[in-house]
Every structure is written in C-alpha cells, then in structure tokens.
Amino acid sequence: MTRQTCRMPRRGNEDVAVQPDDEGRHNHLELHEYPRFQRWFWKFQRLAWTALFIGIVAALAGLTGDGGILSMARSQAAGSSVSYSAIMRRSRPDTIQITSAVAKIWLDQRFIATFDIDVISPMPVVQTSLDGGLVLSFAQAGQLHIALRVTPKTVLRQPFSIVIGPDQHELSPMILP
C-alpha cells in the first residue's frame, strides 16, 4: 500500500473502539479516514450551499445581469434619457434605449472600445467618425426612441459617454465575464 504522508490530521475520531496506529488506520481496516478533514469539509460544504443560495437570490434580484430589478439603470437629462443594464455580461447582447429630442447622438471612443454595435433601430441616416467615436444622425425630428443593440467585448467596469445635444450621459456599467 502506498504510504501516505500528509499534514492533514489522522487521529481524533471519538467513535473508534480501537485506537488508530501511526498510519492513521483503524480496526484492521487499511483506511485513511482523516476525520478532522471530513468534519471541516462538511462544514465547508454547508457554507458553500449557503453561498450558492445567496448567489442565486442575488441573481434573481439582478446583480448578475440578464434582467432583475437591480440590473436596470437610467440616466436622465433635460432633453434626453438613456436606459441601460447596469450589469451586463461579456459576449451577451444587450440593449441601450435612448430617448432624445435631438436627431444627433455621439457615442464616445470608450463606447466603441467597449461594445460591438449589432443593430441600431431606427437606422441612422448618416454615421460619421469623430474623435475615435461615432456620430449617429437620424432623419426623424422630434422625440426619438432609439434602441442600440450592443455586445460587450470587455469586462469589469467600463465608463463611457453618450452625448445627445447638450446632454452628456456618463454611464459605467459593470460587465461580468
């Protein structure tokens, strides 16, 4: 039999009728039981179950993105507003909703570095580059409801700006791996 040497405790099982020998074997059973490790692991197991439960409740509340009351955020200014997910997931498409009274929107360089833009609805009439960012010009005058379908391509907190006329919306969603 392979002689096992380990720092884990080998003694201390109160239930044994015969005391263990130097190898930690009991009662002619060639068995390394590590009773203290077992007890520690059972406690760890229960703690892990509790942590899992807390994690799932947090996920239901929206703390891991993908919906939930805590995951939605909104930036409001005088003439515009931006609704977005405060917690996003990398590679998972998400939607940023923009309500605007002006027909021109500037997405800054950090936005472009953070997201792939999948769909813009309605389609802008003109798209031009500006300072590493992107200016979207829409045909419709008056109140606009724009949906930007984006896919995050980086992780962790990613601040960026969306400038709508005189309003500058500073957003910083958390992107989970």
Binding site: T2, C6, D15, V16, H26, N27, L31, Q38, Q45, L52
Partner: protein
C-alpha cells in the same frame, strides 16, 4: 488562449460544484441527479465552446481537459492534500456494528442505503450482520459483514 483559460476555469467550477454536491449524488443517480448531471454537462458545453464550433477550438478544449486530468491524477499521487480536496476521504458509517449517526447525517446516507448495499453485495438480511460500512470516495458504499455471517450465508 481564451479557450484554454475558459476550459481551465470551467473544469475548476464543475469540480467544485461536484464536490459540494457530495459523494452520494455521484453514485445514486436518482432521476433528480440524472437531470442535474445532464444540465451541468449541457451548460458546461455551451460555456466551453460558445459560438466557436471550429475543429481547432474543440481540439484545444479537449486537449486542455485531458492534460488537466492527467496533471491532477499525478498531483493526487504526489500530494495527498490534492487528493483529499478533489476526492475526499472514505467515511466509516458503521464501525464494528456501531452506527455512526453523525457521519451518516453529514454524508446524507440513510440506513436504507446501507441495507441496500448490504443486500446487493453480500445478500445480508439486516444491520446486525454488518461489521463495517464505508462510504467510498466514489460515492458507493462498501459493506464488510461479520465473518460468521458470511459463513452462514
């Protein structure tokens, strides 16, 4: 590179979840456990491969997992703590005919489980015939009957 990091991370996560599930879940295979294992496998597969279903990705993922398994089995031999953490240790549930209720409760093993193992392995009739019952690291229950019981059987 990302594929390999993902494979390593998912291996660690699935191993962790499997360990905290407990050993009985591994071997019991009740309908709940079958569903659990199928869903874990499906989720892990999606996370591993993602949108990249290329042959290169598949070769890398499988290669990483196989190498990790070989490395872990080697480490388990050399470093006992790795074996303890990844597989646990056998748990004696009945010692010299004495039922260790704390160990049974913590391991989530019932008297019925032990009797079932005793019937299947040795054709034993009751608890009085069992000298040792051990929950192995695989999740199976080993039964060692009293010698006279075996002779009588």
């Amino acid at each position: 590179m990302e594929t390999i990091i993902k494979a390593l991370a998912i291996y660690a996560v699935v191993l962790f979840y499997t360990r905290i599930c407990g050993r009985r879940t591994l071997s019991q295979a009740t309908p709940f456990d079958v569903v659990l294992l199928l869903l874990i496998a499906e989720s892990a597969q999606n996370a591993l491969l993602g949108a990249d279903a290329s042959l290169t990705n598949m070769v890398l993922v499988i290669g990483t997992l196989v190498l990790l398994d070989v490395l872990l089995s080697y480490l388990k031999l050399r470093v006992p703590i790795v074996s303890l953490l990844s597989e646990g240790a056998p748990t004696v549930l009945i010692r010299d005919g004495r039922i260790l209720t704390d160990e049974m409760t913590s391991s989530r093993v019932s008297i019925e489980d032990i009797l079932e193992a005793a019937r299947q392995a040795h054709g034993l009739l009751n608890m009085a015939q069992i000298r040792f019952a051990i929950l192995e690291t695989s999740g199976s229950i080993s039964i060692i009957p009293y010698p006279d019981t075996v002779a009588a059987g």
